[in-house]
Subunit: 318 residues, 2 copies
């Protein structure tokens, strides 16, 4: 397939680097201010070298990629809230041209799910978004496999930064501010970690899961989620929990009655939900098959790129 | 789809009971000595009642099911070693009639994988076998999703009976014979538990994984696996392990250099591989996405039936 990639952050560049190994051709790559386009396939290495040395991937404009030749638009620009722009507009343009869209950007399916599905219905293109939930973990393909109607509830840890901070606070007896600074030094937390520590990022992922699980009946957006973060958890709370054989994790859930909630919860210290470091876990309750747990790396460029490329592999040839 | 089901044990009867919910019609059901066939759909409840009260599912012969009307043959007769008969013959007959085959029986893909793939290539039908590895856990579909070439190794616990016995021995300080008797009382172990406790059952599943992961280069059968069981583990070994923060599990693996091994191994007591009770876990090492863990119920009628019915859902309409 010919891939056009919007966004040249960790995920977009990893998709560009791995696409050839998966048998695909990259015909366009754009960052926020520049682009490179070639219907026969761009030179990915040269584009990424140019970005490192000159700050631009090429001499074209980002909108040239959207209007160029491709079978699949990979939307990997930063997630935005509310109207989910410009990601939503990119998706609309590609679907109106009967192209497939694979999202790494959570915005369109978290904030405007109904509209995304409406546009998809009118298009010959399809929309896939495995990469928006749990990085390399095959969360949405498992839902599709089981059938959304046969999954009664889901819970888990879907933000690695918050999980790293809570794991370190518990293991080392350090307080929140100290561990956050350490996480920023290690590159585990961003300079502005707000959405990771206030629960927004995890909430967007559980909203997407709610849309997929209950999509026929009700549409969810971030405003429908009940969200609390980890910023105000004192080190002493983790100490108390440990004395009781428990620990604290930022747990999200879609309940059996369709509520979406994210917040710090006490969980058994050695239990399945208490993944360590930046790992993620998703726990499905199923109708006929009990509880199913999936855990692994929930973020990272190559990890998330494998989810994007698995989605591309599931799309029909145009 | 129209399903013909061979085998009326826990898995076969659960497939028959759940098929309607998944939108399928059961046109035949056979146990080892009797059958019921109706191209318009059998009365599943009546057949299972007849089996309970009279010991037969109907007045037809088992071979009538194989020769009847169906799109998918569900092969759920007991696993046999060596020539994998009669399961292999059932698969051959269905493929020669250009029907799809979904296996719950491990024999054909563990012992005669190359022949199965050869027969599939000459047929319009396809062969699926998610149910043969890890019950309800989507093990093989995850391999397909990632691409077998991008999974470098796999290890895990794929026999719930052995895992139950080792978990109980460690938790209660009891010896093997005592816990085995308890497991038999609970129905967790069969009257003849040989293949569960000597490692054969787990080895068959890792052989199937090896065939899927390395199928293009080399064919595996049970004889290629290096297998040890849990029958000779003294309670004292588990006590010593616990003192050291570890425990013993029956771990199978397909190594990066293509070896298949099953045997008791020391693992961290609270680590990911130390699942409890009859649970199973599979741990994939991937090329670009780190380690991925899948755990859940690895056996049971309805659990395994969901894997069969997920396979049916992936097959093209005939």
């Amino acid at each position: 397939m010919r891939l056009a990639i919007l966004g040249a952050g960790a995920v977009g560049t990893s998709v560009a680097e791995l696409a050839g190994e998966y048998g695909h051709t990259v015909t366009g790559l754009a960052d926020s201010s520049s682009a490179v386009v070639d219907p026969d396939g761009i030179d990915v290495g040269a584009a990424l070298d140019a970005k490192r040395s000159e700050g631009v991937v090429g001499s074209a404009a980002p909108e040239d990629v959207l209007d160029g030749e491709y079978d699949v638009l990979v939307e990997a620009t930063p997630t935005t809230l509310g109207d989910a722009q410009p990601g939503f507009g990119h998706l609309r343009t590609a679907l109106e041209r009967d192209r497939h869209v694979v999202l790494a950007n959570k915005g369109p399916v978290a904030e405007r799910y109904g509209e995304v599905r409406d546009l998809e219905r009118e298009s010959e293109g399809q929309v896939k978004f495995e990469a928006t939930v749990g990085g390399a973990i095959p969360v949405l393909s498992t839902v599709e496999d089981f059938g959304p109607d046969r999954i009664t509830a889901v819970r888990g840890v879907l933000n690695g930064t918050a999980n790293f901070i809570l794991s370190r606070m518990a293991a080392e007896g350090l307080d929140y501010e100290h561990v956050l600074a350490e996480a920023q030094d290690l590159g585990v937390a961003e300079a502005d970690p707000t959405f990771d520590v206030d629960g927004t990022d995890a909430a967007l992922k559980f909203v997407i899961l709610a849309n997929v699980l209950r999509g026929n009946g009700r549409e969810y957006a971030l405003a429908d989620a009940d969200v609390a973060g980890i910023e105000d958890i004192p080190g002493s709370a983790l100490e108390l929990a440990t004395e009781d054989g428990r620990t604290i994790r930022l747990i999200g859930e879609v309940t059996a009655d369709g509520e979406v909630r994210v917040g710090p919860r006490l969980v058994p210290e050695h239990g399945t939900l208490a993944v360590t470091g930046t790992n993620n876990i998703v726990q499905f309750e199923t109708e006929h098959a009990g509880r199913l747990n999936l855990s692994g790396r929930g973020a990272g460029g190559p990890e998330t790129a494998t989810a994007v490329l698995s989605d591309v592999g599931r799309l029909p040839e145009r």
